[in-house]
């Protein structure tokens, strides 16, 4: 308990770091992963904007990002990271590889959610003369919204887990704190405390996400 009190400021800092890393990743997932997943879906064979090449390129990109050992992805991206945030170490630098993986990861979940939208909805959209953008925003996303939210929740939890590894470039965060103080220093109490913090965080995210998803689902 003493230890926990003693390290309170550091814990708060690492919670802040986790929020920054995960927050930016979630943002990246929504801003880039969502359209990416949408295009994966649309350009697929037999779908609305079938385009073999576009699909192959996007699909391969996602696969490459996802198949890279995460550690090596971080290393590989260092020049890019430096270009974007000016440095390759620290919390902000950690957000770059984390965001890239988030984008690829959420894109797949988006693709899956959209695949479950009944084709008849798209048919209705086409019959009304909806534009591409309208079909996507007013029909597809509308009908898939609870799945998209649920998927984002699943993804966010994964991002938190990935953020743990960002200690390697000095990203910090709760997970890294747990490892550094709790595990390496054998402060079991401190470790348990931080893990409980993480469980609570994840639980809160999951419950909120599930609740919103359910509330938005009016399909039956």
């Amino acid at each position: 308990m003493e230890k926990i009190m003693e390290y309170q400021p550091e814990i708060w800092i690492s919670i802040g770091q986790t929020f920054i890393m995960v927050g930016i990743s979630v943002l990246a997932a929504v801003i880039i992963g969502l359209p990416l997943g949408t295009y994966l879906y649309l350009s697929r064979k037999g779908n609305l904007y079938e385009n073999r090449w576009l699909f192959a390129v996007l699909d391969t990109f996602v696969n490459i990002v996802r198949s890279f050992p995460f550690l090596l992805l971080v290393v590989f991206l260092i020049p890019f990271t430096r270009l974007i945030v000016g440095t390759a170490i620290g919390t902000m630098a950690a957000t770059v590889p984390l965001s890239i993986i988030s984008i690829a990861y959420y894109a797949r979940l988006v693709e899956q959610s959209l695949l479950d939208v009944p084709k008849s909805i798209i048919e209705a959209a086409i019959s009304m003369g909806a534009s591409r953008t309208q079909i996507i925003f007013k029909f597809l996303y509308r009908e898939a919204r609870s799945g998209l939210i649920f998927g984002l929740t699943t993804a966010t939890v994964s991002f938190i887990s990935y953020s743990t590894i960002m200690g390697m470039v000095g990203g910090g965060g709760v997970g890294d704190f747990a490892i550094r103080y709790g595990y390496q220093r054998y402060e079991t109490e401190l470790m348990a405390y931080t893990i409980i913090l993480m469980v609570i965080l994840v639980q809160a995210i999951q419950v909120t996400g599930t609740r919103i998803a359910k509330k938005l689902d009016k399909r039956s």
């Binding site: 290393v75 390759a88 170490i89 200690g167 390697m168 470039v169 890294d176 390496q184 054998y186």
Partner: protein, 251 residues
Amino acid sequence: KSDKGADGQQTEEKKDIKVASHIPPMTDMLELVKPLMEKDGYNMEIVHVSDNVQPNQMLKDKEVDANFFQHPPYMELFNEANDANLVVVQHVYDAPLGLYSTTYNSVEEIPDGATIAIPNDTSNIARSLKLMETGGLIKLKEGVGIDATQKDIIENPKDLKILEVDLLMLARSYEDVDAVTMLPAYAEPLGLNPAEHSLIEEGKSDFPISLIAREDNKDSAAIQALAKHLSGPEIVKFLEENFPTTYKPAF
């Protein structure tokens, strides 16, 4: 973007210095000298990194000014492979590698076909193999250096199985295998120290944990100040008080 001194004691700007490090006791020592550096007018930031390559990469890329986590041979490996010009500024302490076992009390007792766990990073693999050679367990190819691998074993009379696992896992796998080679940082929490418990004595160490900088900044006032404090009486006292049997000052 440097901080103003606390309590407004000084108005003069402090110089920033960034040092990458890894785990205790290295990080603890840096924490210890941080106030000393502060007094000398340096605002020292410790970058915690959970990886064994990144601190060197960062140093090479000038993202940090120095690092403190490795021994010189490991640095040499990096220099060679990456065309880098990292240099040793100050040896700080020796961390002798030891071979520990829950069941056996001497090298001779280790049976045929036993499993030995060793760290899985390049220099520690070589170091562990060398240690085993010293103990007469295996024989390595003539002239192999700090990049020796299991491929370089030419004699293994006991037909030992050598398993490479993460440094962080070594202590945890202590009970799973017949013997483990461990550094004091990991052995110490298990109540093990090289002087009393190791089955093999490493002897004169070529592996002092050292402060490393670059060719171009090794002579800067900041690095020199840090070198001075890391080899100062505070460090000696720290090591003696906390790790009387494990770590020895290397200066």
